[in-house]
Symmetry: C2
Subunit: 296 residues, 2 copies
Amino acid sequence: MKMNEYIELIDKKLDAYMPVCYPQKIFKSMKYTVTLPGKRLRPVMCLEACRMFGGNYEDAIPTACAIEMLHAQTLIHDDLPCMDNDMYRRGRLTNHMVFGEAHAVLAGDALLTFAPQTILKHSKHLGAEKLIKIMEEYFQAAGAYGVIAGQVVDIESEKFSQAGSFDTDDEQLPGILEYIHTHKTADLFKLALRTGAIIADATDEQLEQITEFGQKLGVAFQIADDILDETSTFEEMGKTIGKDKEEGKLTYTSLYGLKKSKEDLSKLIDECFEILSINNLKSEVFEQILNKIRIN
Amino acid sequence: MKMNEYIELIDKKLDAYMPVCYPQKIFKSMKYTVTLPGKRLRPVMCLEACRMFGGNYEDAIPTACAIEMLHAQTLIHDDLPCMDNDMYRRGRLTNHMVFGEAHAVLAGDALLTFAPQTILKHSKHLGAEKLIKIMEEYFQAAGAYGVIAGQVVDIESEKFSQAGSFDTDDEQLPGILEYIHTHKTADLFKLALRTGAIIADATDEQLEQITEFGQKLGVAFQIADDILDETSTFEEMGKTIGKDKEEGKLTYTSLYGLKKSKEDLSKLIDECFEILSINNLKSEVFEQILNKIRIN
């Protein structure tokens, strides 16, 4: 499958998996953010990992879509007034701007269980043992050991900032930044890749390879995002730009500067290509993703 | 087991299941609300249902504790400023008053997946098939088809109020009120009872019996809560009293008045006793719970 074919399939399935039942406002609110036009990077990665390790990508469709729902959940709650207080996301109003704060909280809550429920409902043929493995991966990545840990430390990182700048000699900051990027971004990438691989019955060694790939790709993706947050426009990004800097958030560019950020991004992308190549993993889709996040 | 023995066991296990890892603030925030002193009604019901249908209650401990975590999650988010904006719960400050709004949102989010993760981690011996059944019950009750649907309609019910009063001739209001009580309260009761029964390998017929029991007990419990919200004090309830009325929330007492509320509560409790008796279900603990929510 090509990238755009995957994306088309995911969009179709996300729509099909998400009915608008009573009480309609909550289901509409959940569906609004999940179906905002997007790159569908995480579900694509899940389907492609499954295919790459010899599985049938169709078996991974419910899991792939569930991970996009989880991603949307994190966006809805991160955008809330009490968190990042963002008005725009992917060029549209954020969830709480459309449905109100209470419904945005509840829509995020609902997605956290609707996502794994979707997996169980539409993946029965995978068998109970494999479904339990997928559930374990999901809970680990979605909760306080995963993406939420990243968000918590991200919020707390503001306390290290002095008028938007960071003491680049502070020895604990590189570790904190790596922690944020690992959990806030790479954990969902690894979830997508690992569940795709598990569905394809990948070996433990293959799981390790794809986890390392996901870790590096996740951090690379976040560095690219930090760079674009400084150098891009609202029209290009679909969200308010320069807010991280304004609010004194710890980012790759605020700690290391633009030049080193670009160098490290390039190095990580090269390392990702290397992981694919030395393990003889062939994937045009992953090559495309890697080339897309390159910034020269 | 007696009621107070169950409660002691649950309190001990809740503490043991909830470590305080890095980043500590989120784990502390999760644990704060879960371990607030409480009646532990839902976990007790889970353990007792398991025992009553011939199972070993010890097998149900992780599931029982997970349901208490889920219950705490609903309290944390319901108390948020954008929802019910409550400052006190069980006589203590609410989660967001102690940890701030952002952490309260994230602690609730984290509990939604930490709870089922706890089940999977500590109930492996139940086998994958049974664990999947428990997961399905959990997702159904925790999400937009369950407790969240109840909360959404509860919030929306305010629009029917005129200065805190309701048009008692409005034919749709009884149905809406029943919907709120069913989903906001009875769904978690049924989750506790059904998962306990499933762990004990109850038959489909037994599952139906206990579901009907949970539905009636849940509504009875909510009617009792509505009555106490009008007639009790802060010291007795540990939370701000009379707020529902003040905010024009649709409650049993606001729709039917105190007298009929007490009559209907009494009738529901009798029906619960009847379900136990005609199905030859013997449980001192359930009898105690029923007698405790009686209001004369």
